[in-house]
């Protein structure tokens, strides 16, 4: 039985990165973009509406940060996986990025299909 693709919400205030992330998802087997959000507040609402399994969350956002949005999303939907993205190096990450409930952090420079697939596979228990 074919498994349905993992529905993904893309959150970034820069249109370019939303387009870019869509492009990456389009060539990553097993994932499908189901929506986009431009702010942390919009991300929280969109997760309620669209029920994605995975959220790709930019850290730097207008209004509440990606970290705060992650906290709210994880509190309301504990099963939703959030991966933080930014241009920070891992050492420069804000301290609260580590305990906001995100599964992983990725530098935008390193974001590509194989990396996304690996993060997803390693997070899922083997069946």
């Amino acid at each position: 039985m074919p498994t349905r693709p993992v529905p993904v919400l893309i959150v970034d205030d820069q249109a370019f990165f939303r387009v870019a992330a869509r492009a990456v998802l389009a060539v990553t087997p097993g994932f499908a973009a189901v929506g986009e959000a431009c702010s942390g507040e919009e991300a929280v609402t969109r997760v309620d509406e669209l029920a994605p399994d995975l959220v790709l969350m930019d850290i730097h956002l207008p209004g509440i940060s990606g970290i705060e949005a992650t906290r709210q999303i994880r509190a309301a939907h504990p099963a939703v996986v959030v991966v933080l993205l930014s241009t920070y190096t891992a050492e420069d990450l804000p301290a609260d990025a580590r305990d906001c409930g995100a599964l992983a952090y990725l530098n935008k420079e390193d974001f590509q299909p194989e990396v996304l697939e690996r993060i997803w596979v390693e997070r899922e228990p083997a069946l």
Binding site: A20, K108, Q112
Partner: protein, 221 residues
């Protein structure tokens, strides 16, 4: 006729994003998409682009590949333009990129790529031999140089401004002399006076030239 573009960028996300954005533009024909210096040089040789859109740092050394590729392009395909994409406003890279002339050269911060209109405008501009310098790069250059009196360009004579505007088009001293019907020696004197008035007495000559041009372009912009 569409502008023929070769893209080189090692970041998967930026590369795919730019590829996808340009794919929808009828005025752009994307000839090749490269991930490193060697494949970019090969693509330049085999596809004859009008414009190369390239990251600065790429494999193999992740230092200044984009700038070196632009130099190479100047030799093998002088009419082609280059849009250099940089993560940071780095004055040293900007100077190295522009020291042989700003004609057909654009230096853009990657954050501008987010705005398709700005990216397309830069591609169009360099395809026609023009230049685009990111305002943040000009800012960094101006900040890097000692803070002199406001608007040093105001100290230039009308003749010196004419000379500077021709330098900004990437002309050599000889070409400036021809354009203004002056001797080359007279042009050199004007240029030295421009450097002195713009407070650029110490850096290497090519760099002074680029800085003077950038100040001029900044004021025009």
């Amino acid at each position: 006729m569409p502008i023929k573009v070769v893209l080189a960028e090692d970041s998967y996300l930026v590369r795919e994003g730019v590829r996808r954005m340009l794919a929808n533009e009828p005025e752009i024909e994307l000839l090749a998409v490269c991930e490193d210096y060697d494949s970019l040089l090969a693509a330049i040789a085999s596809t004859q682009p009008d414009v190369v859109l390239t990251d600065i740092r790429m494999p193999p050394t992740n230092t200044d590949e984009g700038i070196r590729a632009a130099e190479r392009l100047r030799q093998v395909r002088p009419a082609a333009g280059v849009v250099l994409l940089s993560q940071y406003a780095d004055p040293a890279y900007a100077l190295a990129f522009l020291e042989r002339g700003t004609e057909g050269r654009a230096y853009l911060l990657k954050e501008r790529v987010a705005d398709l209109d700005q990216l397309l405008a830069a591609i169009r501009e360099v395809a026609q031999g023009g230049s685009v310098i990111d305002p943040k790069v000009v800012e960094a250059l101006v900040a890097a140089r000692s803070r002199a009196a406001p608007s040093p360009l105001a100290r230039l004579t009308p003749r010196e401004r004419e000379v500077l505007s021709l330098l900004a088009e990437g002309r050599s001293n000889a070409a400036v002399a021809e354009g203004l019907v002056l001797s080359e020696r007279a042009v050199e004197k004007h240029i030295n006076s421009i450097f002195a008035k713009l407070d650029l007495p110490e850096a290497r000559d090519a760099h002074r030239r680029v800085k003077a041009v950038l100040l001029f372009l900044a004021e025009q912009g």
